[in-house]
């Protein structure tokens, strides 16, 4: 079981499987629908993937580095959505009539506050709930499930059990029309945000000392400690970052659906889990690829075979578990 670093070169000597996979997905769907529709749906899929990436990247890093399956990750997503929504809605009512640009700009503090609160909660969660049972996988799944329930219920205590509508700023409504193809404005923003997060994470992971510590820690946390670094601190930082990202993802999704409910995170958790398994636990690149794949598949299927659409991602997960259980980009030993 040790170090199953299956190099893609070994599986198919001439062809790399991942680009081939994407080519197949894009190509087959292009054949199945008119080109204009294909562009619209592909962008829908990419934007969904981008949001999924933002939500999942934290969880995959946390698992890769600390071996912690944080079942409360969904609750952080929900919390982020609610806090962002509250901040945005209240700022909006205060700054009413300031114009469309101001309306859009109010998103920034909403996202910021949301990520900060989630980061703080992440810190408390790691300290109080996870650290006492660190190392015991069973207990850690149990307490994070418990924590998820508590957070979700507290959200309902403070915000009520009903859904909260979250209308987008004016500037993000509607679509661009380019050559007869409708491209929703919000989707473009989602993709941009997703790419920005992706790029920043890769920069930190590959070009900073903390990134070095994280990469080394994923492999051998004991040795990192023996080199004189407090790996525990690195863990906490990663957890906080993961929680903050979950919050941001929650806000993004909330704006996409224009509606948030207390069960938002619970439903998305399943998708997040599928993404991190397909991508390979602990791998940021894998997570991005998997998220895009899940988003694209889901969108194409919604158009082509709507009855099967909810099962497309789980089908993908089962296929990956059968063919390449360590995920698209393997890091962890299976």
């Amino acid at each position: 079981m040790k170090g199953n670093l299956i190099n893609s070169q070994l599986l198919l000597p001439c062809i790399k499987p991942i680009p081939l996979l994407f080519l197949a997905v894009f190509g087959l769907s292009l054949l199945a629908m008119p080109a204009a529709t294909w562009v619209t749906i592909s962008i829908a899929g990419l934007s969904m993937g981008a949001m999924l990436f933002v939500m999942s990247s934290g969880m995959t890093l946390i698992f890769g580095l600390m071996g912690i399956l944080n079942m409360a990750h969904g609750a952080f997503i929900t919390l982020g959505a609610f806090i962002g929504a509250s901040v945005f809605i209240s700022l909006r009512s205060v700054g009413d009539g300031l114009g469309e640009l101001a309306d859009l700009a109010l998103l920034l503090p909403a996202i910021l506050v949301s990520s900060l609160v989630c980061a703080l909660l992440g810190y408390l969660f790691e300290r109080l709930i996870i650290r006492p049972v660190y190392g015991d996988h069973l207990k850690q799944i149990l307490v994070t499930v418990g924590g998820a329930i508590v957070i979700e219920q507290l959200i309902q205590v403070f915000w009520g059990p009903n859904e909260i509508p979250l209308p987008r700023p004016e500037m993000l409504r509607g679509s661009f029309i380019i050559a007869d193809i409708a491209i929703q404005k919000y989707r473009i923003l989602a993709v941009l945000i997703g790419l920005a997060v992706y790029w920043s994470m890769l920069r930190v992971i590959n070009h900073t000392r903390i990134g070095l510590l994280i990469r080394a820690g994923v492999e051998n946390p004991e040795m990192v400690e023996a080199l004189g670094y407090r790996i525990g601190l690195v863990f906490v930082l990663v957890f906080i970052a993961g929680a903050a990202l979950a919050g941001v993802g929650g806000v993004m999704w909330g704006l996409y659906d224009e509606m948030i409910t207390a069960q938002l995170g619970e439903q998305l958790l399943v998708q997040v889990i599928i993404v991190i398994i397909v991508g390979g636990l602990g791998s940021i690149q894998g997570c991005m690829l998997a998220a895009l794949l899940v988003g694209l598949l889901s969108s194409y299927m919604s158009y082509l075979l709507p009855a099967l659409a909810p099962f497309s991602s789980i089908g993908l997960m089962l296929a990956v578990l059968m063919w390449r259980p360590q995920g698209l980009i393997p890091i962890m030993k299976t």
Binding site: H137, K139, V157, I273
Partner: protein, 402 residues
């Protein structure tokens, strides 16, 4: 004679004794209460409560087979439960409310549950145990969506109402006249509030009820549940169970000894699924109604987790105590919460914490606290203390060096 009884007990419990006097007493209490439940507790709420306790003891014990004996957290248990319930419901609807339909429904449920268990095992037992948890969550969620989508057969989100065979319906009377019962709860409550009139309360506690189809159903469920529980005791204390425990302690060594962990784990998942499906079938017959909320919701999964953790993982008896405590609390504590909530008034912000709809919040807190402070569960703690007393009594000193 005594030897015969001892032998019988040994075989019945598959040599898995409570190992604690307190535990044995509690278990006996539960067993007696359940055996004579229709005669001891009056009313519909009580009926639903003790029937649910029987069914859930089986459901939670079957979950203990997974979490207690192999330390794997599965989130698909409600799926198996739901499969059993829906199979029964759909069959009864399609084939009519006869006993043959019940048999067919049960068999269908068992077959589908077995297939689902194999699916899960094949995909996730090849890799790390933590994958199992995630995969079960995904598959269970997909199943719930499936049930929702196939609303023409399953009734979708609204669920299905079922007609059951006449013999287990309220109209059927096994005994023509009403039968005598003694309401224990009423007696104890009245006697504690007003101890001076004990005799009067004693007389007032007697009640009469019809031994009808519902009572027959209860005894059917009770018998089946008892049999299943004893069967699980037997499984877990057989060589099969020992191998599972060996795998739990040290997987590598078990493999080195030649045991295929995949085979044993798969078998365990399948057996657990079959029992869970049977519990689902019983629930369908009892409630005469199935819906995703009642059988598949994540809340039920969390309830099961809580019951097994509080009761004690890896003990099977933990299911008995955990379920009894939990179901009683769920039924009666929520009423208490409602009282507190109404007293606090809606203006008070923190009143929301006592809203009976927020029952889950306290469950979650209790759950986390149990994992920290009573990780062995009630049964585990009782056994641990009993063992400590035994060691002291035998004059053995704990060897620090060992």
């Amino acid at each position: 004679m005594i030897k015969f009884l001892k032998n019988a007990l040994h075989n019945l419990l598959s040599a898995s004794y409570p190992q604690s006097k307190m535990l044995a007493a509690l278990l006996l209490l539960v067993a007696v209460a359940l055996s004579f439940a229709p005669f001891l507790f009056q009313g519909t709420v009580a009926y639903n409560t003790y029937t649910k306790i029987c069914i859930f003891i089986v459901l939670v014990a079957s979950y203990d087979m997974l979490i207690g004996y192999t330390r794997i957290v599965s989130f698909a248990h409600t799926m198996f439960y739901g499969i059993g319930a829906y199979a029964m419901a759909i069959t009864l609807k399609q084939l009519g409310p006869q006993w043959s339909s019940v048999m067919v429904g049960l068999s269908l449920g068992l077959i589908v549950a077995l297939l689902a268990a194999l699916l899960i095992a094949v995909f996730s037992l090849r890799v790390q145990a933590v994958f199992f948890s995630m995969v079960t969550l995904a598959i269970a969620s997909a199943f719930a969506i499936l049930i929702s989508k196939l609303y023409t057969i399953t009734g979708g989100e609204d669920g299905m109402i079922i007609r059951t065979p006449q013999e287990i319906g309220p109209a059927f009377k096994l005994v023509a006249e009403k039968v005598l019962g003694f309401d224990v709860i009423q007696f104890i409550a009245a006697a504690s509030i007003d101890p001076s009139n004990v005799e009067r309360h004693f007389e007032a506690a007697f009640f009469k009820f019809y031994f009808n189809g519902k009572t027959v159903l209860y005894y059917g469920i009770f018998t089946l549940s008892t049999l299943l529980f004893l069967l699980m005791l037997r499984w877990m204390n057989s060589p099969f169970g020992r191998v599972l425990q060996a795998i739990r302690e040290n997987e590598f060594r078990a493999q080195a000894l030649g045991f295929s962990t995949v085979y044993y784990r798969t078998l365990n998942v399948c057996l657990s699924a079959l029992v869970a499906a049977t519990a689902g079938a019983m629930t369908a017959l009892q409630l005469k109604y199935v819906s995703p909320d009642v059988t598949l919701s994540f809340t039920i999964m969390v309830n099961i987790l809580l019951m097994v953790v509080i009761g004690g993982m890896g003990t099977l008896y933990g299911a008995v105590l955990g379920v009894s405590l939990f179901v009683l609390a769920e039924t009666y504590l929520q009423d208490l919460m409602a009282v507190v909530y109404s007293k606090l008034g809606e203006d008070f912000v923190w009143a929301g914490l006592f809203n009976p709809d927020r029952w889950l919040l306290w469950l979650g807190v209790l759950f986390i606290l149990s994992v920290y402070f009573i990780p062995r569960g009630i049964v585990g703690e009782l056994r641990y203390r009993a063992e400590g007393r035994r060691i002291k009594a035998a004059g053995l000193v704990k060897d620090d060096q060992l």
